[in-house]
């Protein structure tokens, strides 16, 4: 039986003047899965997110969220989804609990269930002991947890996470990954935009790589890596002349290459036609290799 779609986009276009922010995008998010939109700044990820809440109206294409057609039915769709924005827009003069209380009203949580909804959200985000703390007194990680709690206060079927861990230190990022992973394991559909490769690899069932408004590849992280970057890579370090020589030799041998700042990574070693690869540091191929190969740009 086909898994129903939480999000369905077909041929979606969004222009801002001469700039094509989203360029004929197709996207499917099956219910109960996590899809990662991976791409550098300006790839069209946030614009796609805004169109899903009808805060941007597409110029062309079809959008369907939880069975509701957008933008006409965006209001009932928004009632069943939660949004964690990239920019922190908490009410800084309100406490943690007050921030959540306001959104129990906005998300139509029935009066008799509001207290329970707030308690549940506080526990989920591990902010129980901070309920009376003003939002502007919270650390960055706590504020991000509060943003997530706010998006979940009404038990949505779908959660949109726009760069959920940007600007946070690694320890806090790990905490938020655990929280997001818990949501995923409990069957909540998730669409997450990110420009952190590791985040996409860890959390997403499916990754869509975006560049210049277009989807350039989509699939499970392991499948994308196997298809585009192979199993192993060799990192070769050296002066620029040496790196150019290595690149030329690799291409002659039928292998792909990418620059990694001060080195060249040679990919798809299994495609080598001359039986050899230069000396270097061997490592597993990864999603970043795939991204650079497909988009020609390093992740920002």
């Amino acid at each position: 039986m086909a898994v129903p779609l939480a999000i369905r986009l077909r041929g979606v276009v969004k222009r801002f003047g001469p700039i094509m922010a989203v360029d004929h995008l197709d996207l499917d998010v099956h219910e109960g899965t996590c899809v990662g939109l991976l791409g550098p700044n300006g790839a069209g990820k946030s614009t796609t997110m805004k169109m899903l809440t009808a805060q941007a109206i597409p110029d062309e294409g079809e959008l369907e969220v939880l069975g509701y057609e957008l933008p006409g039915e965006s209001k009932p769709a928004r009632a069943e989804m939660g949004v964690v924005p990239q920019l922190d827009n908490l009410d800084t003069t309100l406490t943690v609990e007050q921030n959540l209380r306001v959104f129990t009203y906005l998300y139509r949580v029935p009066r008799g269930e509001r207290r329970e909804a707030i308690e549940r959200a506080l526990e989920l985000a591990n902010l129980y002991d901070r309920r009376d703390t003003r939002a502007d007194k919270l650390s960055g990680g706590m504020r991000r947890r509060l943003l997530i709690a706010r998006a979940l206060v009404h038990q949505p079927r779908l959660v949109l996470l726009d760069e959920p861990t940007v600007g946070l230190d690694p320890q806090v990022r790990q905490e938020l990954w655990a929280l997001i992973d818990k949501l995923r394991s409990e069957g909540t559909s998730i669409l997450m935009s990110t420009h952190y490769i590791e985040e996409a690899e860890r959390l997403a069932d499916t990754v869509m790589i975006m560049s210049h408004g277009r989807a350039v590849a989509s699939g499970r992280p392991s499948e994308l890596i196997a298809e585009h970057a192979g199993r192993e890579a060799i990192e070769v370090y050296g002066p620029p002349a040496r790196l150019r020589e290595v690149e030329a030799g690799a291409r002659e041998g039928g292998m792909s290459t990418r620059r990694t700042g001060t080195s060249v990574a040679i990919l798809r070693l299994e495609d080598a036609s001359n039986g050899g690869a230069p000396e270097g540091h061997r490592r597993a191929a990864n999603l970043e290799d795939v991204f650079v190969l497909l988009t020609g740009e390093d992740i920002a």
Partner: protein
């Protein structure tokens, strides 16, 4: 503890839903508890200073204007000033900050709330505040000799209707301006002339005919007249006309502010 999604049911949501309005209002009320002192001070003290300065300053030169004691004339007139100050500036600056700097409206519109509900709730809240603050000059004037009357009980309602229109006007201005610095153009060319030429400190009948005609297009003038008549005796159909102008102003500003805010918030 599970965050599992609630059971699926297809929702139908209408316009101007009570929970959406309540959510925005609840947010405003909770925030108000942290700054009510400063807002109350500025909203009541400033018009009272105008009242006392003009009342005693000009009152020493002019004892009677248009058949009223001057302190009574100014006391009832500055009610409109208090309503204006408590509504339009609060709406202009408050909504601009929430929209452009705090991104509060982005958060609200990601929930099942639309621009119509957001703007309506904001204007209602500001109008409620203005209806209360607008009574301050009346109470001060009573201390200096204005006789209370039963008609004054409708002054908060008059203030509410006026305040709603000016709050919506403030939201409209905020949505149209690209920078908070541009507000000074509107304040200097529109709001200040309106408040000075509304019959607050001197009757419009003393002005040239063209200015008197323009006065009929000034919503503040109609508020001034209504409050004066509430204090000293209603004048039948004339007051219904004043109320009609205030209601029309309110509806027009309300719809325009919704349109402008939607354009600003939705790409």
């Amino acid at each position: 503890m599970s965050a599992a999604a609630a059971p699926v049911r297809r929702r139908r949501l209408g316009r101007l839903e009570r929970p959406a309005l309540a959510g925005v209002l609840v947010r405003e009320v909770i925030n108000f508890s942290s700054y009510w002192r400063s807002v109350t001070f500025s909203s009541t003290v400033e018009p009272t200073i105008y009242l006392l300065a003009f009342g005693f300053g000009f009152g020493a030169l002019v004892s009677e204007v248009a058949g009223y004691d001057y302190i009574e004339f100014v006391g009832t007139g500055t009610v409109a000033t208090a309503v204006l100050f408590a509504s339009v500036f609060s709406a202009m600056f408050g909504t601009f900050v929430k929209r452009e700097f705090q991104r509060t409206y982005d958060a609200i519109l990601a929930a099942p709330v639309d621009a119509e509900e957001l703007v309506t709730a904001e204007a209602l809240w500001i109008a409620i505040r203005a209806s209360v603050y607008g009574c301050a000059p009346l109470l001060v004037a009573m201390v200096f000799g204005l006789d209370p009357s039963w008609g004054m009980l409708v002054v908060p309602l008059i203030n509410f209707v006026t305040g709603f229109g000016w709050a919506a006007a403030g939201v409209l201005i905020s949505a149209l301006m690209k920078s908070i610095d541009n507000f000074s153009y509107v304040t200097s060319t529109l709001i200040t002339p309106m408040f000075l030429v509304a019959g607050t400190f001197f009757p419009l009948s003393e002005l040239p005919q063209w200015a008197q005609t323009l006065g009929w297009f000034n919503p503040l003038h109609h508020c001034v007249e209504l409050v004066r008549h509430a204090a000293f005796g209603f004048e039948g159909w004339v007051d219904l006309a004043h109320l009609g102008v205030l209601l029309a102003f309110g509806v027009l500003m309300w719809r325009l502010s919704i349109w402008a805010t939607g354009r600003r918030l939705v790409d």
